[in-house]
């Protein structure tokens, strides 16, 4: 494998990005954005995770195959969420009686 050596400057920049995002997420939590609060929090978390995965974990410089497997892992998680939640969201729909 052609080993890609990432220079420390990149790591430091990424770390800077992570720190900024972290401050942002804490600050945003103190504003009342209603339903947007969790959305913002999660978006920031996803961005942070992306930075870590892509740079600290070298995925940006690695093979397609690795990328596919990384994506797969997260995608399967989404499958789980998206198929469990409908049960809880739609359970009440049928009580007291079906709408049709």
């Amino acid at each position: 494998m052609a080993q890609h050596v990432v220079p420390p400057s990149t790591y430091v920049k990424v770390f800077g990005g992570l720190t900024i995002l972290m401050i942002l997420t804490v600050v945003m939590a103190f504003f009342n954005l209603g339903v947007l609060n969790p959305v913002v929090a999660l978006t920031i978390a996803i961005l942070k995770a992306l930075l870590i995965v892509l740079f600290f974990m070298n995925v940006k410089y690695s093979s397609k195959l690795t990328m596919i497997f990384v994506a797969c892992g997260f995608f399967w998680l989404l499958i789980m969420f998206f198929l469990i939640m409908p049960d809880y969201i739609s359970r009440e729909w049928l009580t007291p009686a079906i709408p049709w």
Binding site: M1, P8, Y11, V12, V26, A45, I52, F56, S62, M85
Partner: protein, 221 residues
């Protein structure tokens, strides 16, 4: 065959490249497994947060945000030092490798110590689920005590599972430090450092999600 004399390549691989690629792929598959492992907990979290938003807000606002933020910083820095450790190994900087690994280990331990004090605080305030659990919230009168207890159960299991992974990571770091001290790593032989790095960063990512999900609900109250 010529390469069999090369002690770095295990007998069943053709060359070092094949061996390294296999190791990287194997590690990613393992991390995929880890994603699903924590994923089960996140799914539980999602369902109950959806069902009991008030209890979740009540429990969350009662967590210590200062310690939580501090720990987040600690972990992020430890990821940086870990990455620098890998870089030192790749570029053959023996001394700096040991230093970075040590730094990572110290940061990881700091995290665990802080976590310990958070747990202790919960214990003192009867926020540990069980018969003596008690919880009153001024801001969220709608939060039923039993549901807040559910939040805390989940809090302890999620952070506990995360802490367990940290402990394993710390063990791996100690092992690496010993190997590094014996001079086992170099520009052609740093897979163990790199893979441990993957693991460490992964544990960091889990925290990146745990932090907002557990500590930052409805802070504006």
């Amino acid at each position: 065959m010529s390469h069999s004399s090369d002690s770095l390549v295990a007998h069943h691989f053709e060359d070092i490249e094949q061996q390294n690629e296999s190791a990287v792929l194997g590690m990613w598959l393992f991390l995929g497994q880890e994603i699903m492992f924590f994923g089960g907990l996140f799914a539980v979290y999602l369902v109950y947060r959806f069902k009991y938003p008030d209890a979740w807000a009540a429990g969350s606002t009662d967590l210590d945000i200062t310690l939580g933020t501090f720990n987040t910083v600690v972990l992020l820095v430890s990821s940086l030092t870990m990455a620098m450790g890998v870089w030192s190994a790749q570029t053959g900087r023996q001394k700096s490798l040991i230093r970075y690994l040590l730094a990572t280990l110290v940061l990881g331990s700091t995290f665990l110590v802080v976590k310990f004090f958070e747990y202790k605080h919960k214990w003192d305030y009867h926020h540990v689920p069980g018969p003596s659990f008690s919880f009153q919230s001024e801001h969220f009168p709608n939060a039923a005590e039993s549901n807040v207890q559910l939040f805390y159960t989940l809090y302890f299991i999620m952070t506990g599972m995360h802490a367990l992974h940290m402990v394993i990571g710390a063990g791996l770091l100690i092992w690496l430090i010993v190997l590094a001290w014996k001079g086992k790593f170099g520009p052609h032989n740093f897979m163990k450092v790199e893979l441990t790095g993957f693991y460490w960063h992964f544990v960091d990512i889990v925290w990146v999600f745990l932090f907002p999900l557990l500590y930052l609900i409805n802070r504006h109250h």
